[in-house]
């Protein structure tokens, strides 16, 4: 190739570099800078204030608890759903389409939908009352019922965001030639053994992508929690929102944002290491 055309690749990626730089890198640097500045110059004051806040440890605990419960459940559910969908002969597209409907709904709308179901005068209480199981409205989402609230948030998150894992895993399953499973079957492997020894290891690259995506998003969970529980169930992103809008303290909000990013990066690094596929083991 003639040397003078060597600028073309750079010109072609320039728009996306400029776009990312302007809308991602600059705000990122600004946020990090904001979180480390108070008064004039470098300071850890915002972080001290964040850590000293009454809700901080609660928000950390809740965010981690939610992530540790929701993400594994989503992976297991999505694996089961993906296995079933790929086994369908007829109506497979329809089933997949129905299962992925929640992906098209914004997280706030999903939260509000579950609020309509679960609030005091919601559909759940109406149904239970009509069945004679309760005498009057029962509060499921209040501060007095933290486990019911937690359970409701888990339920809403499972409903809302399992489909993205499903889509990634189905794509991954379709990449595995069926001969692997057939060979294992011929050589004596029962269905569960085939799943554990053949399908799951070969699905590792897709599992890794799905886990990174879902875990990062789970650490950022906000709208569903906010719609269902308000500040009754503090989470990290929610606290950032409160410090930004209610307290008008951008420095502490930035500190929360940086903390969420650090946790997400750490989780991603762990997944990249633990679930790495050695190049010689690729199909």
């Amino acid at each position: 190739m003639p040397a003078r055309t060597s600028w073309i690749p750079y010109a072609l990626i320039a728009p996306s570099v400029i776009f990312l730089g302007a809308l991602f890198l600059v705000p990122l640097v600004q946020t990090i800078w904001l979180s480390f500045s108070a008064g004039d110059g470098f300071s850890l004051e915002n972080y001290q204030r964040m850590a000293g806040d009454l809700n901080f440890s609660l928000a950390v605990r809740n965010t981690f608890l939610l992530t540790l419960v929701v993400v594994p459940l989503q992976v297991v559910l999505a694996l089961a759903m993906a296995t079933m969908v790929t086994k369908l002969d007829r109506g497979r597209d329809l089933a997949l389409w129905v299962l992925t409907i929640p992906l098209g709904i914004s997280d706030l709308a999903a939260g509000l939908a579950w609020l309509a179901l679960l609030q005091n005068t919601g559909y759940l209480n109406s149904a239970l009352y009509a069945l004679g199981l309760i005498q009057g409205p029962v509060g499921w989402l209040s501060q007095e019922t933290p486990w019911a609230l937690f359970f409701a948030i888990v339920l809403a998150e499972l409903w809302r965001a399992t489909a993205i894992v499903l889509v990634i895993l189905i794509a991954g399953l379709q990449l595995i030639p069926k001969e692997f499973s057939e060979a294992a079957e011929i050589f004596g492997a029962k269905p569960w053994t085939r799943f554990m020894r053949i399908t799951l290891p070969l699905l590792k690259p897709s599992l890794q992508s799905a886990l990174i995506l879902r875990t990062v998003l789970a650490f950022e969970v906000f709208a569903v929690v906010y719609a269902l529980g308000g500040r009754n169930f503090p989470v990290l992103a929610g606290e950032a929102y409160v410090w930004q809008n209610d307290n008008q303290n951008y420095g502490v909000a930035a500190a929360y944002a940086v903390l969420i990013m650090a946790i997400s990066l750490a989780a991603t690094a762990v997944y990249l290491r633990v679930l790495r596929t050695r190049p010689e083991q690729l199909p």
């Binding site: 030639p177 590792k204 596929t277 010689e280 690729l282």
Partner: protein, 349 residues
């Protein structure tokens, strides 16, 4: 060790009948090739024997036991797949050991049997490597070793050599024959390559349109094809079919006559290109040469007999030219007579 009885197996996919009541018996220790063009149902039949596909009707009996409704793992067989299906996330050792591990064999037994299978296929030196590091031929050896390690009663092979290049295919074919003879396993081998089938098999079942057209030894199939299809499919060049009319036990082609089996019938003379010998023009069957192709070991002559296309194999030193007419002498005992209407061979008188 076991024999295999396939009894009137029918397979339908929707309205399409892939197998139209196929029956076949494979004796204990025998090597049978299922040979046919793509879409003839040979792979479907193999997958039904394996249990990976369920027959619409009919039975599969292995070693006296009706396995028609058993899961593949309960049929006591092993299989080699066209694309090898060697597990990429396991070492060669673990691949070969897979079947033994599923049988919950003791570690010592696993080690002994894996090493024996590996030695048979000459893959001992890369037992601890991953398949991605191996060539296609080496992966194929791993797939065969994995199948032989479980010492199966029945071995099924689905076009195992078709992904290899020509030279390697020839080498593996010879080796496979030696290895399988030593193992003495009952083998069914699916292929669309007639040289593979001829070279490897004790008997060949030629399949066409979901049916077995003929089953017999490679020589029988070659010398006495049961149908026009078998004659045209086996042999290179394919058998020539010349339309003739048989009257009073004699068929007239040009100036020549050949004794024919049935009188008053339209039939086709099935003539192998290598069964005709050249004679001067004016004697024998007239053959108009259109193209001469020197193939090294022989000359391939393309032309026509009585206006009908034909290919004749001549010695490499024969003095013939394109555009020439020569005579062909034919041994009446080596020709096949085909009924024009049914396409089946007419029994010799």
């Amino acid at each position: 060790m076991a024999d295999i009885v396939i009894d009137r197996v029918v397979k339908e996919f929707g309205t399409f009948r892939a197998l139209q009541g196929v029956s076949l018996t494979v004796n204990d220790g025998e090597f049978v090739a299922l040979l046919g063009p793509s879409g003839c149902g040979k792979t479907t039949l193999l997958r039904i024997i394996a249990g990976l596909e369920t027959q619409t009707s009919g039975r599969v009996v292995i070693g006296g036991q009706d396995v028609s409704n058993l899961a593949p793992r309960k049929r006591g067989l092993a299989m080699v797949f066209q694309n090898y299906a060697v597990f990429p996330h396991m070492t060669v050792f673990e691949n070969v050991a897979f079947g033994l591990r599923m049988q919950k064999a003791q570690q010592e037994e696993v080690k002994r049997k894996v090493e024996r299978a590996a030695a048979l296929l000459h893959i001992e030196s890369y037992l601890d490597r991953y398949p991605a590091k191996l060539s296609g031929g080496q992966r194929q050896r791993v797939a065969v070793a994995r199948a032989l390690a479980v010492e199966p009663a029945v071995l099924l092979m689905d076009e195992p050599l078709s992904n290899l290049d020509a030279l390697l295919r020839l080498e593996m074919r010879t080796e496979l024959k030696a290895v399988l003879r030593e193992a003495g396993t009952t083998t069914i081998y699916v292929t669309h390559d007639q040289t593979e089938a001829m070279g490897l098999a004790d008997r060949i079942a030629v399949m066409y349109g979901g049916k077995i057209d003929q089953i017999g030894s490679p020589l029988e199939i070659y010398a006495t094809p049961a149908t026009r299809f078998v004659g045209g499919f086996i042999g290179s060049p394919p058998m020539n079919f010349i339309k003739v009319r048989c009257s009073q036990g004699m068929a007239r082609i040009g100036d020549a006559t050949l004794p024919c089996p049935a009188t008053g019938k339209d039939m086709e003379l099935g003539l192998r290109g290598e069964d005709a010998s050249l004679a001067p023009n004016g004697s024998g069957i007239p053959f108009d040469i259109r193209v001469v192709e020197p193939m090294g070991s022989h000359l391939l002559l393309t032309g026509s007999i009585d206006g009908q296309p034909a290919r004749i194999v001549a010695p490499p030193i024969a003095k013939v030219n394109a555009g020439e007419r020569v005579g062909l002498t034919v041994d009446p005992a080596r020709v096949t007579w085909i009924d024009s209407i049914t396409g089946r061979a007419i029994a010799r008188a």
